[in-house]
Amino acid sequence: MKIFAHGSDGSDRSYSGLGDIVGAEIRDLFELTRPPEPSESEWDRVHRSMAESMTRPGSPWRTVALSVAAGIALAVGAITCWPAQPPANPGPEVAQVSRSEPADELASFPLATEDDVEIHSIRGDGWKSAVLGRSAMTEEISWAGPNDIQVKSSAPDEYYGAEPKLSGGTHNMPVIWADDSLRVR
């Protein structure tokens, strides 16, 4: 079957089937709206820029920065994951009875000797509790005698202005008196 049709541009056309009528319309519309084809030089420019971008080497600064960042990240990871000493268990507020180790059942507890202990201070009634090392703290006090002291100089108190006095005589233990009742008013 052959069909004659009047085109939109006023021309008469003939088609060999019904399907060609639809196809011709579409082809007409396509021709009317077809965008301009890039020129050969434009296609060449696009191809060149694509080829350059695929073969371009990375920036050296970018490589260095990435390497440094990777190194730092590895170091941080190693520090984080390194098996450190686990935090000590603070334990209960009041210590509880511990299990006796088998070795302790037979061995005697190591007792400190006088040489192992050095007492630094005792406050309050603590001297009653100390068993070792107390000899150094409670030994008899030896007082200075009259012949052990020789006064070379003295000065009045800065605030009260009182002159310190040494009393005790020639036989008694010397005592330094700083009597504030003698202060200069």
């Binding site: 920065a65 000493q85 005697s108 406050r123 009634d125 603590g126």
Partner: protein, 160 residues
């Protein structure tokens, strides 16, 4: 520009991570403090074999004590500068403060002991040795409660 911002952000995160790490390697390790609670009797002359040396020392201060038994062995890890509390009998507690870490020169540690009902005693002692103390505490059955305090550095569990 975007790379710079991203790099700065990553650096900030890394610094944050490093700063968040606890300074556990330089931190002094807690001290292992052990307290022996001993019951001393004036009537029962039975003595624990492990306490034979202690008995002689305690008897110098109080010859009426004839029998010595271990009531409890108390363990606690105490940080340097902290005070550990050890329950003796009933509500009576012994406090032990760790004043000083082990001195490598003479292998001693500094402690302050606060026996119940008494004042305080500050001393240094060779590590691993028990120092005996007398307390004013008695058990329900009338035995005198004595204590012995030992301190030593904590063991490194990773080096076995």
């Amino acid at each position: 520009m975007g790379v710079c911002v991203r790099g700065a952000f990553v650096s900030f995160l890394i610094v944050l991570l490093v700063a968040a790490q606890p300074a556990r390697r330089d931190e002094p390790r807690p001290v292992h403090v052990r307290v022996l609670v001993i019951a001393a009797s004036t009537t029962n002359n039975k003595t624990d074999k492990r306490l034979e040396k202690f008995a002689k020392v305690f008897q110098k201060t109080d010859p009426t004590l004839v029998g010595f038994e271990v009531l409890a062995e108390l363990d606690k890890r105490v940080k340097i500068g902290d005070t550990g509390t050890f329950a003796l009998t009933g509500t009576d507690k012994l406090k032990v403060k760790v004043d000083r870490a082990r001195d490598a020169k003479d292998n001693t540690m500094g402690l302050t002991v606060y026996p119940p009902g008494s004042g305080e005693i500050s001393y240094s002692c060779t590590t691993g040795k028990y120092v005996p103390f007398v307390t004013e505490v008695t058990t329900k059955t009338g035995e005198k409660v004595l204590v012995a305090v030992m301190a030593r550095p904590s063991e490194n569990r990773h080096r076995k």
